[in-house]
């Protein structure tokens, strides 16, 4: 008798990509997207794709396309805060092509068992890329919905093997005077440093990003490697990461050092804790010109992350 054993290559019909999703994929996959990204890109974009994603992604619930439709690729890639290239929102799109992203090395040190210089592909398993549609809320009161491509930050941290004493993750981002015209003028201390508590970094929502909209991450969005922490203000999500250090003490982060009364270490999205210069109660979902969206505590991810801050005074630890 012939016994047919299933191999991983025999996919059930339930795994077949719905035709409209398959048909719409070309709108989003650029011809230049690398093959490995292409695999993840099958899940890319469009309301149908978002719906499809809802059934395939275990850790991140998809957003409702009715209330949180994807922000256009052109918007996401032309409106950036990346002061190394200048403080104007359009500066990164204008100048970031100068950034050399290949080769790229990430120095891993501190309280890890596997320190050293890593390439992007040593940190990120490109076969495990997934698409995560996240709300992105800037401390400046605008927000977007972005289909990121990446892997859980926890998977990256597991590769470098944290020591038990490690309490915090510090990420340092690139400084290239010859490639970044904003360094001399933006008025910040370089390099840009951000950090997370270990449990925040290990949270399944925390993402190490290498792409968006099924494409390789554009330079202005933080190529080749950035983090995105969807329940925190955007400035926590460091771009173009060159160093990951695990520490016992809380790292000194750039904006918290620059203006401590305006920016804290936690920077959780919170409508009740105002920025000294503006209320955080409402936000503007680009490209809408109206600031008519109520801001949600933890950017709407409270059911998953609120427990991280149980018992903490969020007014004090802003």
């Amino acid at each position: 008798m012939l016994v047919k054993t299933k191999t991983s290559a025999d996919l059930p019909y339930s795994e077949v990509t719905p035709e409209p999703v398959y048909r719409s994929r070309r709108e989003f996959i650029s011809a230049t997207a690398v093959g490995v990204l292409g695999a993840a890109a099958c899940l890319s974009a469009g309301p149908e794709a978002q719906a499809a994603l809802a059934t395939t992604s275990k850790s991140a619930p998809a957003l409702d396309p009715a209330t949180d439709p994807l922000t256009a690729f052109e918007q996401i890639t032309t409106y950036n805060n990346y002061y190394e290239f200048g403080t104007g929102k359009g500066d990164p799109a204008r100048y970031a092509h100068r950034l050399t992203v290949k080769p790229w090395a990430v120095k891993v040190d501190g309280l890890v068992n596997k320190p050293g210089d890593y390439g992007v592909e040593d940190l990120v398993n490109f076969r495990e890329l997934e698409e995560r549609v996240y709300r992105h809320r800037c401390v400046e009161r605008w927000s977007m919905v972005i289909p990121w491509i990446g892997v859980p930050l926890a998977a990256v941290l597991k590769k470098i093997d944290p020591q038990p004493k490690a309490q915090f993750v510090e990420v340092t981002t690139a400084v290239r005077p010859s490639e970044m015209p904003g360094l001399a003028t933006a008025g910040l201390q370089w390099p840009y440093v951000e950090g997370l508590r270990m449990d925040e970094a290990m949270h399944p929502l925390s993402l190490m990003v290498v792409g968006l909209y099924g494409k390789v991450l554009p330079n202005q969005n933080g190529a080749p490697l950035r983090i995105h922490i969807p329940w925190k203000y955007g400035f926590k999500s460091g771009k173009s990461i060159v160093r990951i250090r695990l520490m016992e003490k809380m790292p000194a982060t750039t904006w918290a050092m620059q203006t401590p009364h305006e920016y804290g270490f936690y920077a959780n999205v919170n409508p009740t804790v105002d920025h000294p210069r503006w209320s955080q109660g409402r936000e503007q979902r680009l490209p809408s010109p109206f600031r008519d969206r109520p801001t949600i505590l933890f950017n709407g991810y409270g059911d998953q992350v609120a427990s991280l801050y149980a018992g903490m005074d969020l007014r004090k630890y802003y």
Binding site: Q75, S279, L286, P287, P289, R291
Partner: protein
């Protein structure tokens, strides 16, 4: 060398000011950035071109109206110094119009804030409490509103009727424009997150303009050396 340069500038400015269409030309120059902004706004709101105003339309409207107001206000303030330094009295003819244009852009700037930021496109949606809180709690909005509240009475009293009615007080009142300009520069400085080079440049220009006016006032008071005094026959001397 320097005096020839000055003569050249004087000749150029005199020719421009003497031009029959000088006033309409200045008017159109002030109108143009507003029209350009309006065209893009039309394409954005009616034409479906969602990037016509850049990635953040409200901010584009807010920044451009604010910047136009500030630039035209500074041009207004430099009319008198330029007129006196280069002795082109006809320039005075456009000063009031420039001032009213600066106010027009300032009014649009405030309106953009009220409509898009505070949803004041209808009374029901308008966030009155948030506006009050903004003015009282945010120093940059307080500074901006101060500048606007000064410009408002100046714009209202800019008509010839008010000039006549207020007599000497008109000039006294309108000197407040320097306070408005100062408040506007402070407003601009305080909204910056980290890079304040551009607002500081405005501040430097404002100090320069104010300095020139102080020197003028001082020259007016200083007695002219005796031998060079020229007194028109019959005119009373200044003490």
């Amino acid at each position: 060398m320097l005096s020839r340069l000055r003569q050249g500038v004087t000749a150029l400015l005199s020719a421009a000011a003497a031009w029959r269409l000088f006033k309409p030309a200045v008017f159109l120059a002030c109108l143009a950035p507003g029209v350009w902004l309006g065209v893009r706004a039309w394409r954005f709101f009616r034409g479906g071109d969602f990037l016509a105003l850049g990635p953040d339309p409200a901010k584009t409207l807010l920044h451009e109206t604010g910047e136009n107001a500030l630039v035209i206000l500074f041009i207004t303030l430099s009319v008198t110094p330029v007129r006196r330094l280069f002795q082109v009295n006809r320039l005075q003819a456009v000063r009031r119009m420039l001032g009213v244009w600066a106010f027009t852009y300032a009014l649009s700037h405030v309106s953009v804030y009220l409509v898009f930021d505070q949803l004041c496109y209808s009374v029901a949606t308008c966030e009155f409490n948030a506006i009050k809180e903004d003015i009282l709690k945010r120093r940059f909005i307080f500074a901006g509103m101060t500048a606007f509240s000064i410009l408002l009475p100046l714009a209202i009293t800019s008509t010839s009727g008010w000039v006549r009615r207020l007599k000497k007080n008109w000039q006294r009142l309108h000197r407040l424009v320097y306070v408005a300009a100062g408040a506007a520069v402070v407003h601009y400085t305080w909204i910056q997150k980290s890079d304040i080079r551009v607002p500081l440049r405005y501040a430097a220009v404002l100090l320069l303009l104010l300095g020139i006016r102080v020197v003028f006032a001082w020259q007016k008071r200083r007695p002219v050396p005796y031998g060079r005094r020229r007194r028109p026959p019959g005119a009373g001397g200044r003490p």
